[in-house]
């Protein structure tokens, strides 16, 4: 197993509330890794700390053997980690195509001077960005909506668009925050196929999900969080039988 991401003793507090405490996990290259837990267990906080939106109080992330910068989202993306949001966050006034093109920003270099003079490099880069954006839209299956302003897309298509936009940053690790939330059965099945395709094409996936069935069917390994602490980590079939996990989901009276 080749380590891609290693989280070491991540801790995060908000005032008196401990959102994460001593969370460690290792994600291998090429796997789909699940992160589950009841509401408020700290999953999204973990995402936010990982992607630089929050600064952790303790611990660090090591990505590809290099420590990730803290509190600098754009550097995290540059290092090769992209994310989606639980409540879809697209750029409302842009078309689907332009959303994906914006996602390519970090991999392009044209300067203001280049843009002003429209030199060869800038034009070529712009053409490649456009081409690549079309490819990605096709990849997630919404190429026909390329010129639609994104807020007019259906919910499922918006989810796909957000994934395409994240892929445009050319990540090695794609972190999906509840991608199946609000989807119907058909859409969920299609999403599952898409995630498998993404993994097949060499991108490691970190998945937060509520849909236990999806997680169990998709993930190679997973970690269960409860009250900000890791209570289990293993392959799905083992985790499913773990007593602490069953208690967390059912015992405490909290809903799954």
């Amino acid at each position: 197993m080749i380590k891609l991401l290693e989280a070491r003793n991540i801790g995060k507090r908000f005032g008196g509330l401990t959102a994460l405490s001593e969370v460690s996990l290792t994600i291998a290259k090429g796997e789909v890794y699940g992160l589950i837990g009841p509401n408020g267990a700290g999953k999204t906080t973990f995402f936010n700390v990982l992607t630089g939106a929050y600064i952790p109080d303790e611990g660090e992330f090591v990505f590809n053997g290099i420590e990730l910068p803290v509190g600098k989202p754009h550097l995290v993306v540059e290092a090769g980690i992209a994310r989606t949001f639980q409540n879809i966050r697209l750029f409302g006034q842009m078309t689907a195509l332009e959303n994906v093109m914006a996602g390519h920003h970090i991999r392009t270099k044209a300067s203001v001077w280049g843009i002003l003079t429209q030199n060869k490099h800038t034009r070529e880069e712009e053409r490649l960005t456009t081409e690549r954006a079309y490819e990605l839209l096709k990849y997630v299956g919404i190429e026909r909506f390329a010129d639609t302003v994104c807020k007019n897309l259906s919910y499922g298509d918006q989810r796909r668009l957000e994934i395409a936009r994240a892929l445009a940053t050319e990540p090695q690790l794609l972190a999906l925050d509840e991608p199946a939330a609000g989807m119907n059965a058909t859409e969920t099945t299609q999403l599952k196929a898409l995630i498998e395709q993404i993994r097949h094409d060499g991108v490691t996936v970190l998945l937060i999900e509520h849909d236990v069935k999806l997680v169990m069917g998709l993930c190679d390994r997973l970690t269960v969080l409860d009250f900000g602490k890791k209570i289990a980590e293993d392959v799905p079939s083992v985790v499913q039988k773990n007593e602490a996990v069953i208690n967390a989901y059912l015992g405490g009276g909290k809903h799954a």
Binding site: P73, F91, G92, M94, L97, H105, L116, R127, A166
Partner: protein, 364 residues
């Protein structure tokens, strides 16, 4: 340019090519027609072009990047005072046009960065108030820096600025060929027009580029923009300094065109006026900024010429003087636009991509 053409009712959609030519022809013959109504109107057109540059620059900051800047006129002031310091009898230095204008633009850009650094972490409405404060501070300094060392000459301002001299050709002098005289106001008009067209081309190129898309992304959702790797701090600084550059250039042109500068020209009301032009025309839209600037510069002048005589005949004296009318018009334009048509006169259907580059259909 295309956006302007597209904005023409009917024609713009049906025959873009004809609409384009129409815009070009109007732009070229406008001063000649205006001259028929008197020299003042050409002067007003010249000012409208300056306001267009300001509106285009502010639109870049407010419309593209989503940063509400209420102190924008300060950059205009920096450009104008740069001209006044370096090309007037005030300090007795007379640098040439091609040296002063870029310097003014550079100082304005620098001022943009200096203002930008501390304030860019602020949220929208706080940013607005702090930039307003910045504009006021600049004005207070212009007003008072005549003591103990006379730098700005205080509220009186600085007179007798050098006129624009394009490589030996003085724009302020009318040209006489035989009996035929071309008034200097024409030269200013076409020179300013060239500047505006240049600005439009530059800004349009920026809009459809990685930078324009990143600004739009930041404006639409800052958190998501960060999550796709956009360095929002640098892009905000870029927006501030580029916007300021336009202000600085316009300020320099203003100073030399008008021949004198004083703090009065750079009051908060002027910042608000430029903002109204952007809002009225349509935020985030190049055509909107141009049309907004044109209408809101010309309309008060038209009102001045109609309302004053009308009032005199009706009431025997002037009840609403032109300055009051202008303020009334601007404030009402701002409120009503926000309430009734928040997208502005020409709501932005801004494009940030050119699918035709890879042979895909053009968006309709």
């Amino acid at each position: 340019m295309d956006q302007l053409a597209e904005a023409i009712p009917y024609l713009g959609k049906r025959n873009p090519k004809a609409a384009r030519w129409l815009v070009i022809i109007i732009a070229l013959v406008a001063p000649i027609i205006a001259m028929m109504f008197g020299r003042t109107w050409v002067r007003i057109l010249d000012f409208a072009l300056l306001y267009m540059m300001l509106a285009l620059g502010l639109n870049l900051v407010v419309g593209f990047a989503g940063l509400l800047d209420l102190g924008y006129i300060a950059f205009y002031a920096v450009g104008a005072y740069t001209w006044a310091f370096l090309a007037s009898p005030h300090f007795g230095v007379h640098f040439p046009f091609w040296a002063v204008l870029p310097l003014g633009a550079g100082f304005a850009a620098l001022a943009g960065i200096i203002l930008g650094f501390p304030v860019l972490r602020l949220r929208g409405d706080y940013l607005a108030i702090v930039t307003l404060g910045f504009g006021e501070i600049v004005r207070i300094f212009m007003n008072n820096l005549n003591y103990p060392v006379n730098i700005t000459n205080g509220p009186q301002g600085i007179n007798a600025l050098d006129s624009m001299n394009l490589f030996g050709w003085d724009l302020a002098k009318s040209l006489t060929i035989g009996d035929f005289q071309i008034h200097s106001l024409y030269f200013y008009y076409y020179f300013f027009l060239a500047c505006v067209v240049g600005s439009i081309i530059f800004i349009q190129r920026l809009q459809i580029s990685r930078v324009g898309r990143a600004w739009a992304a930041m404006r639409d959702d800052e958190l998501a923009a960060k999550a796709i790797g956009i360095n929002t701090r640098n892009l905000k600084l870029l927006a501030f300094s580029l916007g300021a550059t336009f202000g600085g250039v316009a300020g320099g042109l203003f100073g030399s065109f008008q021949g004198f500068v004083s703090p009065e020209s750079f009051s908060l009301m002027e910042s608000i006026a430029v903002l109204t032009m952007v809002v009225f025309g349509g935020m985030g839209n190049i055509a909107g900024a141009v049309i907004g600037a044109l209408i809101l510069t010309a309309l008060p002048e038209i009102l001045r010429n109609i309302a004053v005589p009308v009032q005199e005949t009706l009431f025997g004296h002037v009840i609403l003087d032109p300055e009051v009318l202008r303020m009334l018009l601007l404030s009402l334009a701002m409120i009503l636009m926000m309430l009734l048509r928040p997208g502005g006169l020409i709501p932005a259907h801004a494009r940030y991509s050119r699918p035709e580059l890879v042979g895909k259909g053009v968006r309709t």
